[in-house]
Amino acid sequence: MDAGRVVIVGASHASAQLCAGLRQGGWAGEILLIGDEPSLPYQRPPLSKALLAGEATVADLLIRKPEFYEKERVVFRQARVTLIDREAATVDLDDGETVGYDRLVLCTGARPRPLDIPGADLAGVHCLRDAADTDAIQRTLATARRAVVIGAGYIGLEAAASLRKLGVDVTVLEAADRVLQRVTAPAISAFYDRVHREEGVDLRVGVGVAAIEGDAAVTGVRLADGELVAADLVIVGVGVVPNVELAQDAGLAVDNGILVDAHGRTDDPAVFAAGDCASYFDARYDRRLRLECVSNAVEQAKTVAATICGKDKTISALPWFWSDQYDLKLQIAGLSTGYDEIVLRGDPRTGRSFACFYFAEGRLVAADCVNRAQEFMFSKRAIGEGLSPDRALLADPETPLVSLLRAPSVSAG
């Protein structure tokens, strides 16, 4: 392996794993980690959970301690990469410097989708993607009592739950006709709808937002039907867009994500991409995917590290995700998109513990598990091994899950 310099753009989940993977794989050359945030890579998921609820600080959340980067000879540099020159194999930084690379890995992640309505730039209106956002929210929270969360995806709902913990009044506004519409079955949406109402959230689905109002700071959110919902804090959580512009300007192929192959390579053999910014072809689900979760960032980073170190590895681990709201620990294995049948174990209409298994053409493809760690790990394994457990047995709470892992069962109709 030729020892040169790996330059990594973006310092977060993907790159933290990449640094470790490169050294574990035997990369002896330089590693230069360039990120535009002031901190070494930190855990992003707690931003809407423990951090927002004031239970942790960014320093508690570093993915790996500063000593790790020292020991592994990773140089961290806070700067923004403004240009890639693939012919010269260099990147330009916003501090005026140009740096050469032998391998370049783009871990630029994603940024919040902007809300294109009047008033979106008023003081007290925030998105939630990085530590600076949480800091800004915390400052508004020092005086805020009434919050509006726009968007009932995972981040919006987690923010709502954390704000309720702090005793803030919360209204959640969702344009679709149910919460989590993009990612779960109606039964799960109904469950989260019920819990948020039980916890005192004023939850409104199927509503349009016309404007955010206020003079200097926000005072309310105007709905499409004319109603004004009073607010001194607004959190916008309407999805993210991948940071692909650097790659695009450099002439790399981009289509809702930087296109990479199963080894994490772009169409330039010296350039790779991993994490929220990358779109890859998933062999298990048989389609191109761009995922937004830590497990995907880690798996793609491992793959890129292995590829750079001359090892044969493809992106293959089953993606999984989690979400903490109130006393609910949701763990999701796999991707439910395209399912044609669900099987419930436990009842989402009452209580706070159940699992929902998603099947496509008789094959288990995903599971949403609420306070059901065992069902989650079962699903990770069963989906990973391509099993199609008997649906009636799976639904029966008396069936020990382990028994469903044994025989490579055929799907029962």
């Binding site: 790790f68 830590v294 790990m377 990770k380 394994r381």
Partner: protein
């Protein structure tokens, strides 16, 4: 302060120094021990930090919690001494502790 030894599935050992209160998952990831990912950051949510405590140390570490059991027992490599490394905090009483890693994390 003290040391903990992580032994990979292939037999490679890593002796790691700790400060009291750090979890074994944090120790492993911050010291570049391969085979422990810690995807969830230590919330007992992911199960990617499975370790197996050396028999001689099981009295010192104590048994795993119910929460850990729920996660680990679905692993084909689950052993009686299996733990989630993020739930095991290093302390003076564990100076010299030895744990080994499974072949795969789930």
């Amino acid at each position: 302060m003290g040391t903990i030894t992580f032994t990979e599935y292939d037999g490679t050992s890593h002796e790691v120094e700790f400060a009291d209160g750090e979890s074994l998952m944090e120790l492993a990831t911050s010291n570049g021990v391969p085979g422990i990912d810690g995807d969830c950051g230590g919330e007992a949510s992911c199960g990617t930090c499975h370790v197996i405590v050396d028999d001689a140390w099981i009295a010192a570490t104590g048994p795993r919690s119910d929460e850990e059991s729920q996660m680990i027992e679905m692993s084909p490599e689950c052993a009686p001494n299996s733990r989630l490394a993020c739930q095991l905090k290093a302390c003076a009483g564990l100076d010299g502790l030895k744990v080994r890693l499974p072949e795969f994390q789930m």
